[in-house]
Assembly symmetry: C2
Homo-oligomer: 208 residues x 2
DNA sequence: TTTATTATGTAGTGTACGATACAGATTGTT
DNA sequence: AACAATCTGTATCGTACACTACATAATAAA
């Protein structure tokens, strides 16, 4: 799902000399690695291969560039719908999501960009955008769990919202653990523990 | 446990005109609320009621002041040993810790200072100190769990390190959830889910 | 060819920040 | 009383930052 569509190419004037998508991708990597505040315009323009006026003409300002980079991150790196395309059960979807994080986050030196966004950040615009994106991610997780309930995979009385929030909480904690230097193996053990909280389908308990 | 002892009072010279402990406490509150980078020296000196030279004479520099403020936070707000003084079981200790966070964090507008420290921060000194403090907190949790294993509360084969890391991960996720505006009630539901992963003492399973 | 429009590179602007120089104030020591 | 030592308030310093003014280049339309 494209969240922001590229404005239609202007018909007149000097054409842009750089690839906007590619520049955005590089900006995303800088923001991901250094965070919003610590990524200076110099860092960004160097990585993007352009000068400040081009950046401002194409993206607005630093805040807008960050928000767009975060959206790009979600589409490219963390799109749950596509990640879950062929996963049959909610349990496998959640476990796969957590394990994916456990395996890949220790490589990214700064955790998950979505999780880290807006924390300790001066820009309230960035903070609000990050909160909204995380809420959206949680709602996607919730919907997958609700589907599991509808399909009989989970007990009928399961609180999908609370369960989604729990696994989202674990996911967010994993990023901090990864940023602190935890190994993939230790994070996988964390995931294994988290999955022990998964509501089993009536292992011999009255269901009302 | 005092981690840093106040240097002995110099015998000569003009005496300090402010209370160092009280100034440190106020600096801690500013850092807690705004984070390391976003707390300016102006914010700090205003809250502390002193001028920059006094700050530098008493605390070194901004980084050293932050590290000391973080230690103060641990002693005052988050000392697990004293928090667990009268808690008989490891399970109650962990659950109490999580519930305490679930109830109090939504009030603090920026989550737990220990958890948020060093994230998206320019100072590597602050980052390293934060990582060390979190590792220490996790080891305290691990020791409490190991005691539970020794005392027969937990199954003999339990991996204390993995279990401690799991609950520390949840604790860290709770701070992000709180910073995102989650209510105490919803966080308590997260805690309830997390406690479902607690290893029960052989509810009819072979214990080797 | 001329004109309008948009992008580019150079070279800055203003500002906020962390940190400090300095002179004067306040103490203990001799 | 004279001196040494330490702290305090004022008034900065140098720097890094986000951002932009401006002249010029490159394109499409007239």
């Amino acid at each position: 799902m494209k969240t922001i569509d590229t404005p239609p190419r202007p018909v007149r004037g000097r054409p842009r000399s750089f690839n906007r998508e590619e520049a955005l991708r590089r900006a995303m990597e800088v923001f991901w690695r250094k965070g919003y505040d610590d990524a200076s315009l110099g860092d960004l323009t160097t990585a993007m291969g352009i000068n400040p006026p081009s950046l401002y003409a194409a993206f607005g300002d630093k805040e807008a560039l960050y928000v767009e980079a975060l959206r790009h991150y979600l589409d490219e790196k963390a799109c749950r719908e596509t990640f879950w395309a062929d996963v049959p059960t909610a349990r496998a979807a959640v476990e796969g999501l957590l394990l994916h994080s456990a395996k890949t986050l220790p490589g990214a030196s700064a955790g998950c960009m979505l999780v880290m966004s807006g924390l300790n950040t001066s820009s309230s615009k960035v903070r609000k955008a990050a909160i909204a994106c995380r809420a959206n991610a949680e709602s996607i997780l919730k919907k997958r769990i609700e589907r599991g309930i509808r399909e009989g995979e989970l007990p009928a009385g399961t609180d999908a919202g609370a369960l989604a929030k729990f696994y989202e909480t674990v996911l967010q904690g994993l990023s901090i653990q990864a940023a602190d230097g935890a190994s993939p193996k230790s994070l996988q053990a964390v995931v294994a523990n988290a999955m022990r909280a998964w509501p089993e389908r009536s292992k011999r308990r009255r269901s009302t």
